[in-house]
Subunit: 315 residues, 3 copies
């Protein structure tokens, strides 16, 4: 089967999910992002790579945070950015998604950043568009959110460049995470020898061990000697169901405290995709502590998005 993310020359033309990206394409994105980290530190944080291009933020569900990161990335590349909150737009007049997309292409949009509550929406649009139009998945249902996955991998490689020597623990709600699965895949592809998942059974997908991870239900065991602790966000709405007893209970068992973190390697880094529930999945002392790289993740997220946009536009 064709990989819908690659063009005929095998180059990246859409970014839909991390699955299906070879180690060499992953490294190309990470290396390109490295060069954009410096741009944000300049006096004039702008490069003309996408000047005169039109980037469409096509948001079928609201996400100020994600929209902002892509808008900043596109503007630093000098693109014109058009944001459409499609929930409140022509969709309500009965127009199909593809008609909306075709209209924007007719206006010479060059790139679509797509956010949708349903899995596969970005794939659906990518399959439809012409060769010179590029689609970036900015989150679809529980399925994929590849720029988040890439920025996490970038952050790990940045602080721990010897990836073939790492022990990474992913902690928390893997069942509902948009990104955990992709990241595990990316880490494995880039040679990380040991990925652990730590969670109660109710927050693990079935057959999670098939992803090539070691499964732990106990933080004390799972965190022992790891180099990287990736916390996942616990969605509050899960609390109401039968999945979890209470936020307090969860924090006691799976919340990351200084005490639990002490079980990891002394130079271990702590990550979180944000927004954080302080006192639920992570203690403030850890979130703001000197092992935390949570804010650098945000910084590298802009560099990753600039890298993806400039690679797609160039291919």
């Amino acid at each position: 089967m064709n990989n819908p993310q690659l063009n005929k020359e095998g180059k990246l033309t859409h970014l839909l999910s991390i699955e299906g990206l070879s180690a060499s394409i992953l490294r190309e994105i990470l290396d390109t992002a490295e060069s954009f980290v410096g741009v944000a530190e300049r006096e004039v944080k702008k490069v003309p790579l996408l000047r005169g291009k039109t980037v469409c933020n096509l948001f079928f569900e609201n996400s100020t945070r994600t929209r902002t990161t892509f808008e900043i990335a596109a503007k630093r590349l000098s693109a014109d950015v058009i944001t459409l909150n499609v929930g409140t737009s022509s969709q309500s007049k009965g127009e199909t998604i593809l008609d909306t997309v075709d209209n924007l292409i007719a206006m010479h949009a060059d790139m679509f950043v797509v956010r949708h509550s349903q899995s596969g929406a970005a794939h659906f649009i990518a399959r439809h568009v012409q060769e010179n139009i590029h689609v970036i998945n900015a989150g679809d249902g529980r399925h994929a959110h590849p720029t988040q996955g890439l920025l996490d991998v970038f952050t790990i490689r940045h602080y721990k460049p010897e990836m073939h020597n790492l022990r990474v623990a992913v902690v928390g709600d893997l069942l509902h995470s948009r990104v955990a699965r992709s990241e595990i895949h990316a880490l494995t592809t880039l040679g990380v020898p040991e990925v652990r998942v730590i969670a109660p059974k109710t927050l693990l997908p079935e057959h999670v061990e098939k992803l090539g991870v070691r499964v732990f239900h106990d933080m004390a065991e799972g965190l022992k000697d790891v180099d990287v602790v990736m916390m996942l966000r616990l969605q509050n709405e899960r609390m109401n169901g039968a999945l979890l007893p209470s936020a307090q209970e969860y924090f006691k068992c799976y919340g990351l405290t200084q005490e639990k973190l002490a079980l990891a390697r002394p130079d271990a880094i702590v990550m979180h995709p944000g927004p954080m529930n302080r006192g639920v999945e992570i203690d403030s002392a850890v979130a703001d502590g000197n092992q935390s790289v949570i804010l650098p993740q945000v910084t590298y997220g802009i560099a990753i998005r600039m890298a993806v946009m400039s690679i797609l536009a160039g291919n």
Copy 2:
């Protein structure tokens, strides 16, 4: 009576409605738009004609689609664009429309793109502003939406340059269409000898024949040998009233199918202002077929808006 769209030198200073525009001004707009079609096909889709100018999108009713087209056009001309959804703004604090406008002028806004649910709102603002401020009507009530009319005329001239030889059919809900009346006027002004309207009696304005059109109630008769078929959007809300029996019934009588289109000339083009109700006023096979110029209409819409903005700013 003075034409409120022209300045003392007889040049276009506002675009309020197609009525009142001479053939020579219409041709100036269409010819200028022709030169902007190329801009959108360049690598860098930007010209500096409105650099340092402030264009205000003043939307008293929401229309993502229209807002987007003007925003793209203004940005490609290098203007700064400020969007105000005035429904949710100072209006609710009791400020009058003219106070809102005066405030924006005091901030040195150069141009207003006005969308309002009431007929005459753009005229009202245009009458009020100083000489160097320009107003574009982006749709007011059922009255006028002149850039839509102009892009339709541009599209017809583009595909059928011999306008004095054409037969054009306008099909559907003329009663509620913002644009049909203006277009009929523009086509007549530009020398089109025969314009037909095809619709059930309940969707025709009174005395429609005074516009100089031939009236048909039957598609088979009306479409015979026409060069251009302009479908109008059927607003779903009309279905609930007594005006129409049902969407299925409407499609059967007035929906454009391949079969009905075959009655027109073999090289006839099919137009629709969007958003389309596929399966109501138009069949997907026609909408996506090789006689459809529905997406080129959208493309030319950007060129028309760039042309109008640059002509107004230059006069």
Copy 3:
């Protein structure tokens, strides 16, 4: 106690309130604004002073009017502007204000324009951020709205440069005004010898006379021989409470009419922060009359905001 608005060199690094600004810093802002008045009158209303900088409009409460003025000012300085209506954003996902701010700083935001319904929100953010990040208070509760105060002072100095000779009357709802108190302070600091307040007792804060003003409850007495009449907006919601009898009654006693204005000096100027309630606190004949400088206030508001942004970015 440290002044949170100044950096170690004593230069302005945040604009939080007019209180605490020395006469020399006030004059620096006003003089810088003077130089930006000309920019808005050029063909190309743009200077590259903030090119490549990212200005974040962080609006915890909606205010289209204020948001627009800052957006226009930032764009004329060539900044990239990101607007976040935080009420509808991550806040609702349980993230703290400071986490939201830290995230934007991690994305290399350079400046925050903060609007919040609670007093002290901008101060709170300013205390938190690093040295090279600047915060502008765009209105917090009833407390402060310093750019409004500054533009008023700018306007007075512009029309009445001999400030040590002036009589200024502030009329209306001082109890709920964000700006009246700051302006009185600024005028006094800049040497205005006599500031009067005119209002019913129910709309005056306690101990108002401690601000160094003369208190009047009668327009005829208070307006006598003043050079400047600063009307305040009457918030409609106050009408419903016990504070005021009715809009008609208020207009009769405290609404500014031509008749009452005649008691002031013949060359007195009339100011209002907008949006106006015509027929409540001000009569249309006065608002649109030749002593009104209400629209120039708006114009100078852009210059003041450009001045503040460029001074902060330069320090």
